[in-house]
Amino acid sequence: MMNHLPVLQVIIPLLAAPLCVIVRNGQIAGVIAVASSWVSLWMAWKIFQLVQVAGTISYNLGGWLAPVGIEYRIDTLAAFVLILVTLVGAVVTPYAITSVKKEIDESKESLFYAAFLLCLSGLLGIVVTGDIFNVFVFLEISSLSAYALIALGKDRRALIASYQYLIMGSVGATFIVIGIGMLYVMTGSLNMADLAILLPELPSNRIIPVAFAFLTIGVCLKLALFPLHVWLPNAYAYAPSAVTAFIASTATKVAIYMLLRICFTIFGPDFSFVKMQLGAILLPLSVIAIFSMSLVAIFQTNVKRMLAYSSLAQIGYIVLGISLFTNTGLTAGILHLFNHAVIKGSLFMALGCVMYRLNSVDLESMRGLGKKMPLTMGAFLVGGFSLIGVPFTAGFISKWYLIQGALEKGLWPVALLVLMTSLMAVVYIWRVVESVYFSEFGGSDADEITEAPLGLLLPTWALAILCLYFGINGTFTVLAASSAAANLMGVGS
């Protein structure tokens, strides 16, 4: 049983999904979803412990040895991302049970859970697999289910957002397939570890850089790096609350994981960052992303949309860390990948609570909500502070490392920019705080607005407390991130 954990990690949610469709009952499907996501979290934890002790785990599917067979390969980074994805999954599924009842037709509830579990298993598959074509297959499983989940939003603009995401996402995925095809033509292998050995041995040629370009652009479309981000704000803003919380904290993060895999594991840091100068491309793009998206976030009136733009800025921080191409920078990137997922999860879930009561997340309609829903807004406040990077919150630690990484490279303007954009985060979070805590309640049905139900509050606070916990005691996250970074940098050098 323990030997098969890597494959069970993918298979359990994958099998639970059709089960949800068969039972055709939202209640039972919800229970199945919660159970399978909790089992996934438990397995991810076991795998993480195993990797800590035994190093990289390799699992050969069906007993076929790599590179002929498909290999599942889990190193420190993969185990860390596994924990992140399953953690968010395990928190969002119980949240969804209450939230979905309000936001999605009863007849579609079981289908919602099926799509949700498919998305989860696709994301987990991307993380565990060591076969590059397998990555594409899992990517499409997670993306297709994500498109369907976003289209479940009540607003009709959710349909347009989902369509836009589908077109952009499919183009990105097709780019990835082209890249994979070129690699296969040149090496005859699809196994990542095998490719890492074969690629440097090839005589210098034009095809490998082209393959590298296709793969990185495809992945950057998926992770919504500026200027390939246009699909993201609407998709986050109009999707059902539970979906936004889940996708915002996992889908783009797994895409960043793919970027790391491609740059560091397959092509090797020497090729990606020294020969191809990827850092010189990613650095300015991420700097523009951080600055412009923080600026746009300040002028949003829909709070969900505001957080979506802030997500784009945060993705900029993560990519910035990666582009620095130092141990500290990479640690900061991976750390922020984890912390930001937890932060945004808690923020979007708090907004889901607001949506549950108010049916709107406009700044205007949230006036005076601090008195009506103190617990919800408390969680929002914790998440908001963490987003800004106030000390003793998770955001502080990752930004600390990021600034350190930038200074190490002598890039003090970049460090200054990180501080300045943190102040911009203060501005947009403050707009919500002002409206929520310092203005009178404006709605007519003042008595009907009460605190969100416990089924929503508990998961929201679970993530909010994690924001605080990882801010006060960062040992777990920092150790995992730095060992993952050292692992990545070590390959090929």
């Binding site: 074509f133 594409f136 297959v137 499409e140 297709l144 498109y147 369907a148 289209a151 009709r156 603009r157 349909l159 347009i160 989902s162 369509y163 589908l166 077109i167 499919s170 183009v171 995925a173 097709t174 397939v177 082209i178 095809g181 296969y184 033509v185």
Partner: protein, 115 residues
């Protein structure tokens, strides 16, 4: 390597650019999906043609032949075709729902309605 030897790749590039152009330039949601399909088809052709080996036969064991085409790209692309069908189906069903909600499948008209 002369230009004729790379003929299949030229076709792939032309097809890819046609698909990509349609995808970008068309404002009609159905035509965009057609463009996406052409774009994806070019990648299928790319994979299938790269498995071909000059003078080789189909990869079925036969006593008269010793050289076979590489079957792996074909198998890979079967998966990608299935994914393509799923994407098309989802895209078209979204278009149907957009038509129900907006009464139009033209991008500019839809954008006007949401202003």
């Amino acid at each position: 390597m002369n230009a004729m030897g790379l003929l299949n790749y030229w076709f792939v590039i032309v097809l890819m650019m046609i698909g990509f152009y349609v995808l970008i330039a068309q404002g009609n949601l159905v035509k965009k999906i057609v463009g996406l399909n052409i774009f994806q088809t070019s990648v299928f052709v790319f994979y299938i043609s790269m498995g071909k080996i000059t003078g080789a036969t189909a990869p079925i064991l036969d006593s008269d032949w010793s050289v076979y085409s590489n079957p792996l790209p074909h198998v890979l692309i079967l998966t990608a075709i299935v994914v393509g069908v799923a994407t098309t189906a989802l895209g078209l069903s979204l278009t149907v729902r957009i038509h129900e909600a907006y009464g139009s499948v033209e991008e500019d008209e839809i954008n006007e309605m949401d202003e």
